[in-house]
Subunit: 153 residues, 4 copies
Amino acid sequence: MALQIAVIGSGVENEARAEEVGRLIAERGATLVCGGLDEVMAAAARGAKTKGGVTVGILPGESRAQANPWIDHAVVTGTGHARNLAVAASGDAVIAVGGSFGTLTEIAYARILGRPVVILDPGWDAGLDGVDRAESPEEAVDLAVRRAQTRRV
Amino acid sequence: MALQIAVIGSGVENEARAEEVGRLIAERGATLVCGGLDEVMAAAARGAKTKGGVTVGILPGESRAQANPWIDHAVVTGTGHARNLAVAASGDAVIAVGGSFGTLTEIAYARILGRPVVILDPGWDAGLDGVDRAESPEEAVDLAVRRAQTRRV
Amino acid sequence: MALQIAVIGSGVENEARAEEVGRLIAERGATLVCGGLDEVMAAAARGAKTKGGVTVGILPGESRAQANPWIDHAVVTGTGHARNLAVAASGDAVIAVGGSFGTLTEIAYARILGRPVVILDPGWDAGLDGVDRAESPEEAVDLAVRRAQTRRV
Amino acid sequence: MALQIAVIGSGVENEARAEEVGRLIAERGATLVCGGLDEVMAAAARGAKTKGGVTVGILPGESRAQANPWIDHAVVTGTGHARNLAVAASGDAVIAVGGSFGTLTEIAYARILGRPVVILDPGWDAGLDGVDRAESPEEAVDLAVRRAQTRRV
């Protein structure tokens, strides 16, 4: 089973960075996991697909029609915001690109479960112990892959 | 996005039938979705992999280490038996191979959400309206694919 | 902590029976747990309140405004149909009054978790092992309370 | 239906403050909602019971035997850390007393759903927009009740 990297976050202003993160994840041969919807989730998935990567979208609603066009495999949870736990838990490491309170639930869930988290600056700055920070998409993916490989869940 | 067929059920006595169902799903080019654990879930995934198919395992626990060896993409829900909703909802159609009360929750969830359900006989016989029955793995997969194609979720 | 009896089911035609079940649960001093919405859930809660009972409604949505007027304590799960697991699991015993596929998920979840289930006839007839049947609200509540007291979860 | 105030947090060092918060919630006639387990959850519930209040515990596991002794009504979710969404969503307002990453998921969920949040200092300091801070249990409960009354969910 390939390494799985979850990309979380939101905000149209973060799409370019998210797309680059997605491209780099695919180039590393890892599977991209995300929430399957728009903005950062769509941009990251699009980036992965431009490099021949594989994408899994974990959706909050009850239909896979919610998925953005770059999702290969849609998981339809039907559990609303509770699906944020599944997004975080399904990553061997988690990269946060921008984001709001939903992203914060995912960062916190990842830490509860011991998943390494990398925040691509600028992003949540919250006295979050045990969370790495990266200054570029390259550094974020490098750190995430390295952390995931040394501590597989 | 490829068609997704969920295979549900349990019981070691049903593994041979489940493996054949998995093989046939892969030959049709559909992605196999299952609960990611043992018995019917493992047999169906193994069958799909012998034919070059793709498998998604939606796990109840908090670690992908739970996944059987034939799962390509593990979704770690952390929500216990509530993940049965996600298994049912993630199939464009659902095939039940044997099974106990967990399988029954998945059949019922599939019906709530309008997913076509095919029960491979012998299996639950419960006055379940709107549920097809099939006498062989071939018939089960044929019916599931046909129903899924005429009513994509 | 008082005994908790979950009442599940649906259908306006079952409201009178559900209300009687709610009254009898309150007279026994047990807390009534239900899904908090309309039809059987509302009727059972209304019955309990007419006898001074206590009611807990476990809601699928994201707002307590969903709760029927006879709910004392609203639990807002935000997890859609996955909340059916919580309804079943929160009963020391479960009584089914009519119902459709949602009710079937709750019956099956109750059995997975070892909660005693009493189906008030007519109701699901589905080769459901380990499920008691009762011919009247009195018999249903008697059975549920007895089963719950001898096997507390 | 009475006002519902959710108390979240953890840490034995915060139990005294949590117990005082629980007492004050009961004196205001509000129902105390919490995660039903130990430390801050138990202390808050104990405080509420010493003043004749009502307590609801929303448990992560599959048995009400998990509940602390001061829980009147146990909701058994069976969904692990995903139950944090239900704890946050079930409060008309939320008070955080200390706490770690689990508490952070609840604060963030509360904000996603528009529930007012009061952090009893010292506690998470994380650039959390729209979150009030209080310096004493009295101030925390005053703020929470006022915010809940002016913006009922």
